[in-house]
């Protein structure tokens, strides 16, 4: 798996991540992702994988299922602020 193909579904709890690219072809799914404010460059932190994916972006937490998590492309970031 090349780094550019990593999705949120591959990440581990506690990982700090950044959205890499416009991900999915399906417009309805894309709208949902955008509604959560997830656009290329947005940073987030995965909190849980089970029973569903919970992540934090800005000051908000969202819960999504594995299928949706698998459509969100991310890369790891080293971020002091988020780890504090």
């Amino acid at each position: 798996m090349t780094p550019s193909q990593k999705t949120l579904a591959d990440a581990q709890p506690g990982d700090c991540l950044r959205i890499t690219k416009r991900h999915c072809r399906d417009e309805e799914t894309l709208k949902k992702i955008m509604a959560m404010g997830l656009l290329p460059g947005t940073e987030l932190r995965l909190l849980r994988r089970f029973p569903a994916f919970v992540f934090e972006t800005g000051e908000t937490q969202f819960v999504i299922d594995r299928e949706l998590a698998g459509t969100i492309f991310v890369e790891g970031v080293q971020h002091d602020k988020l780890e504090a």
């Binding site: 416009r22 417009e27 309805e28 799914t29 894309l30 709208k31 949902k32 992702i33 955008m34 509604a35 959560m36 404010g37 656009l39 290329p40 460059g41 947005t42 909190l47 849980r48 089970f50 029973p51 569903a52 919970v54 972006t57 800005g58 000051e59 908000t60 937490q61 969202f62 819960v63 999504i64 299922d65 299928e67 949706l68 602020k81 504090a84």
Partner: protein, 591 residues
């Protein structure tokens, strides 16, 4: 005075930012406020005064952007873009400006006069976030006001700004870009707006790192499957069973039913009518065995009202605490198996209070398929609080029967859900949901919401009770009632129930809990064995919910679907009752 011609005010913004709470603060009551996305099921309108202006204000469902995902968003979009909007109050969650401001830009770019309301300012402050409103206003070119809508902080300032704006535009409303056709998703614009928002936030907002909040510690417990299940069990036991069941449906109902009505109201009314009305047949309409006052009003006030009130208090607390989205997350996996997502937890839990209200709330589910499955399961396998109260009261003396009832109901819920999900065409549901922070519910907010819901419930239910009593009276007078009862006796005999249970099931057509209450009376008279009790309780639980639910169901899902659901529910109730009766007879269970 001036105001009407200038047009109305619209509250718009993302789900769960406190629009309804602000609406309530502006108009002093009316809309229901809550801590989960998507409670503004019907659009609320109101009116308020500010500096000599009389202003009409409209609350809208949550809106993420101008290319809508859900039906609710379409409604919100339509209202915001309608002709007679003079001012849009864009309500945002102050701690998430980067995510919220892009919608502000969309509003401004469409030429809509916009005022930005930084709501939940207190929560932002607690997280070490402070903002320079003046700088924000300058950067955006629109007025900015900070508020805490649940407490009313900043609302006088907001009213002043609104009035000031109306003074200014008495001269004439600005032109705007008319855009009624649905727009395609503009990904580039979204990225541009987001970058602009981040740049502005960097200049006008200060963030200081904060310590771990109590809410995030508790959150870790709620979201962990094992501990979360224990909390759920505790909520079910203490909240539903002890608070609503034992206290509300037991103690309080007993006081009202036996004390107030049994000792004072009914004897008084009966004596009054006996003195005033010489004709027995007419007297029966009001104070007879099925009289409008002695049965209709008594059921509604002494039985249903306390149970429903206690349930809604509990539900409002659960809702405002932010527990429901945690529950949605916990149960998403199970709900996926029955063709729903965790989001459907909200109507299902609400259904334990009132299935009719819950059927309305299925609007918040994203696809037609999910709405249909949820409506069917609500009608079939979710007992409402009034009925639940009666059933718990009846079965609590027979723990074995109570356990069997609960297990069978759960099997029906999951089994029917799985089968329907397999049959119905359509894509798999997907879960995406905001998790608002855990909050300590405000007593005033809980009471306001409970009052609004109880009022809705009574206005929906009381006329029905009176009509039912009148119809039964008419049916008894003409013999139709007895004919229907004898007709019902046949299927009842098939499931091993005595003919004396037939009137109860006839009541059940009006409302299931009405039927359950009838069985309650029958059991008190010693007319049912434990096995018959289980079979009859199961049948009446799976029965068609009530006339109000039927009407809402046909309105929301169409006549054909509504009738099909009712037909299925009825046949299933009898089939299940028959199966349980046969099984109990064969195994000797509860004999």
């Amino acid at each position: 005075m001036v105001t009407k011609e200038l047009g109305k005010i619209v509250l718009a913004g993302h789900p769960n930012v406190g629009k309804s709470a602000l609406f309530n603060r502006l108009t002093h009551g009316a809309a229901t406020v809550s801590n989960y996305p998507g409670t503004t099921v019907e659009v609320e309108k109101g009116r308020f005064h500010a500096n000599g202006h009389v202003l009409d204000v409209v609350d809208t469902p949550g809106l993420y952007g101008f290319s809508p995902i859900s039906e609710e968003e379409r409604v919100a979009r339509r209202i915001v873009l309608s002709e007679d909007v003079a001012l849009v109050l864009h309500v945002v969650d102050a701690k998430n400006l980067e995510r919220m401001l892009p919608l502000t830009f969309e509003l401004i770019e469409r030429g809509l006069p916009t005022l930005l309301v930084l709501n939940m300012a207190d929560e932002a402050n607690r997280r070490g976030i402070t903002f320079d409103c003046a700088l924000l206003a300058k950067e955006l070119g629109i007025p900015v006001v900070a508020t805490v809508s649940t407490r009313g902080t900043g609302v006088p300032e907001l009213k002043k700004r609104i009035a000031g704006w109306y003074d200014l535009c008495a001269a004439g409303t600005p032109n705007r870009v008319a855009a009624d056709a649905e727009e395609p998703l503009d990904f580039q614009a979204a990225v541009r707006h987001r970058q602009k928002a981040e740049a502005i936030v960097k200049r006008a907002v200060r963030k200081v790192p904060h310590g771990v909040l109590w809410s995030s510690r508790l959150d870790a417990v709620l979201m962990q499957p094992f501990l979360g299940s224990i909390v759920l069990a505790a909520v079910l036991y203490f909240g539903f069973y002890q608070f609503v069941g034992v206290f509300g449906a037991g103690t309080v109902v007993d006081l009202l039913e036996n004390g107030l009505f049994g000792h004072y109201v009914n004897p008084f009314l009966t004596a009054l009518f006996e003195a005033a009305v010489p004709w027995g047949w007419l007297r029966d309409l009001f104070v007879g065995e099925y009289g409008m006052l002695t049965l209709g009003v008594r059921y509604a006030v002494s039985l249903i009202l306390p149970i429903v009130t206690f349930f809604f208090i509990l539900f409002s607390v659960i809702e405002d605490s932010g527990y429901l989205p945690r529950l949605a997350m916990l149960l998403d996996g199970i709900f996926k198996k029955i063709g729903l997502s965790g989001r459907a937890v909200i109507p299902m839990v609400l259904g334990l209070g009132c299935v009719t209200m819950a059927t309305l709330v299925t609007r918040t589910l994203p696809t037609k398929r999910e709405r249909l499955i949820a409506t069917l399961l609500l009608a079939l396998a979710i007992p409402c609080s009034a009925q639940l109260g009666v059933i718990l009261g009846l079965l609590s003396r027979h723990p074995q029967a109570l356990a069997a009832w609960a297990v069978i109901l759960l099997v029906v819920f999951l089994g029917v859900g799985t089968v329907i999900a397999g049959i119905l065409p359509g894509g798999k549901p997907s879960l995406y949901m905001e998790m608002p922070p855990l909050r300590l519910p405000l007593v005033s907010n809980v009471l306001l919401k409970t009052a609004v819901r109880v009022r809705w419930y009574l206005s929906e239910v009381l006329p029905l009770f009176l009509w039912a009593s009148a119809l039964i009276w008419f049916g008894r007078l003409t013999g139709i009632f007895d004919w229907l009862v004898s007709l019902l006796a046949h299927p009842l005999a098939l499931v091993g129930l005595p003919a004396a249970a037939a009137p109860a099931f006839l009541f059940g057509f009006f409302r299931r809990d009405y039927g359950a209450a009838g069985l309650y009376d029958l059991d008190k008279a010693g007319g049912l064995s434990v096995e018959q009790l289980l079979v009859s309780m199961l049948a009446i639980t799976l029965f068609v919910p009530c006339i109000a639910q039927f009407l809402v169901c046909t309105r929301e899902r169409g006549w054909k679907t509504g009738l099909a659901i009712s037909g299925f529910t009825l046949s299933f109730a009898f089939a299940a009752a028959w199966a349980v009766h046969a099984l109990a007879a064969a195994t000797g269970f509860l004999a």
